[in-house]
């Protein structure tokens, strides 16, 4: 069978299966990212995954198993819910994907799971380092990141602010890069995904359009434009906010080393393999050094008064 080769500025997809090649290309094109160098995806459909012989310690997280580091330096990622495997080269931006029909049928779920993790490790090889967070620019032109776990209000707050003159790079998928003397964030463009709770909260103060239905993830997705805002690819963060949800919106300052420690938590790929670990850590340090870090509680009052964050951090 002949391979379908898709060549774009920044990536190449080699795949004998047209559906899989198109799905991968559509996903990567949709990110609207200006990739830092060319990476290569070699993908194929397989009836089932082969028996795992890799004896490295496996680190499970949310339906994905990751094996990385010595002795061979590759990164092996297995999706356990719907079988698929990615093997990232030890030092080149190349990934081999083996995807079962079941996994292909759940591509939408893999976009923020299995495929994203594979992409995270590929991009580490060309100087982009993933941070789990939202990135925005406020109406005064200041760059912000909301860094932290799911269910801490990142997406809901991002959607709220998109309708209040803020520019959004991403609500969830940020890639850090050295840009001269600063750390810059590139936002993977994808719909701001709201759970029913967040959707309900926002709907209580302003009408939301229909958005996109992510029924498999039990979310609704909105582009910044659908919410009245704009998208940007890059943000240079000046404010790092580590949110939790509470009854009233407040902030508390953090020491720079606390900020850095939190960044390691939410960019934990820095711990998985020796390759580029020091560069990754130094970049997180640069980000922590250039930005003011605060712990924040997002309360319902923020929904009613979206200028509150700017008032708390003038």
């Amino acid at each position: 069978m002949n391979a379908t080769n898709v060549v774009r500025p920044g990536f190449v997809v080699e795949c004998p299966d047209q559906d899989l090649a198109e799905a991968l290309t559509r996903w990567l094109d949709g990110s609207c990212l200006t990739w830092p160098a060319t990476f290569r995806i070699r993908a194929r459909i397989v009836p089932a995954l082969t028996t795992l012989t890799d004896e490295r310690v496996s680190f499970p997280q949310e339906g994905i198993e990751i094996q990385a580091g010595p002795p061979d330096g590759t990164v092996r990622i297995r999706w356990t819910d719907f079988p698929a495997e990615a093997v990232v080269s030890s030092d080149e931006p190349i990934v081999d994907l083996a995807v079962t029909p079941d996994a292909l049928a759940h591509f939408e779920m893999a976009e923020r799971g299995f495929f994203l993790v594979a992409l995270v490790f590929v991009l580490r090889r060309i100087g982009w380092y993933h941070v789990h967070g939202a990135a925005l620019i406020d109406p005064r032109g200041r760059g912000w990141m909301f860094v932290g776990n799911s269910r801490t209000g990142k997406s809901t707050t991002t959607a709220l602010l998109a309708g209040c003159g803020w520019t959004v790079a991403t609500d969830d998928i940020a890639f850090l890069q050295h840009a001269g003397t600063v750390a810059r964030v590139h936002g993977f463009r994808s719909p701001i995904a709201l759970r029913s709770g967040g959707h309900q909260l926002l709907s209580s103060v302003r009408p939301l359009g229909t958005g996109s239905d992510f029924s498999r993830r039990q979310k609704r997705g909105y582009s910044p434009e659908e919410l009245g805002g704009r998208w940007t690819e890059t943000v240079v963060p000046e404010i790092l906010l580590f949110p939790t949800i509470g009854t009233e919106t407040s902030i508390a300052p953090m020491r720079p080393s606390e900020v850095l420690s939190e960044l390691v938590t939410w960019s934990h790929w820095v711990l998985y393999e020796p390759l580029h670990a020091q560069e990754h850590l130094d970049l997180l340090g640069r980000l922590a050094g250039q930005a003011r870090g605060v712990r924040a509680t997002f309360g319902p009052d923020l929904i009613r008064r979206p200028t509150l964050l700017q008032e708390l951090i003038p």
């Binding site: 080393s257 850095l260 934990h268 711990l271 020091q278 340090g285």
Partner: protein, 91 residues
């Protein structure tokens, strides 16, 4: 005390505002160190004896040698336990 201390190959360190964040890649753990710890780990970019580390601490801080020795000893013990440094002859 002629034993020489050196950083574990799995250690990664970065400094920020006088403190440090240390990664241990083997165990995927990380922690922060204060300015004294940062001074010691920075000095261990090249292997050093205990006495050399005490001199490094004294050079950085306005502190008596006895106090520097006590602080250094305690920090090294923690680091050896966490396996971010090794002493000559250790596994």
């Amino acid at each position: 005390m002629n034993e020489r201390y050196h950083r574990h190959a799995d250690l990664r360190l970065t400094a920020l505002a006088g403190e440090g964040v240390v990664l241990h890649l083997g165990s995927r753990r990380y922690f922060t160190v204060n300015e004294t710890g940062l001074t010691i780990l920075t000095a261990l970019e090249h292997p050093k004896t205990f006495d050399e580390l005490v001199v490094a601490v004294c050079a950085e801080f306005d502190v008596a040698a006895d106090e520097a020795a006590e602080t250094t000893r305690a920090f090294l013990a923690q680091c050896l336990k966490a396996e971010v440094i090794r002493a000559d002859g250790a596994d």
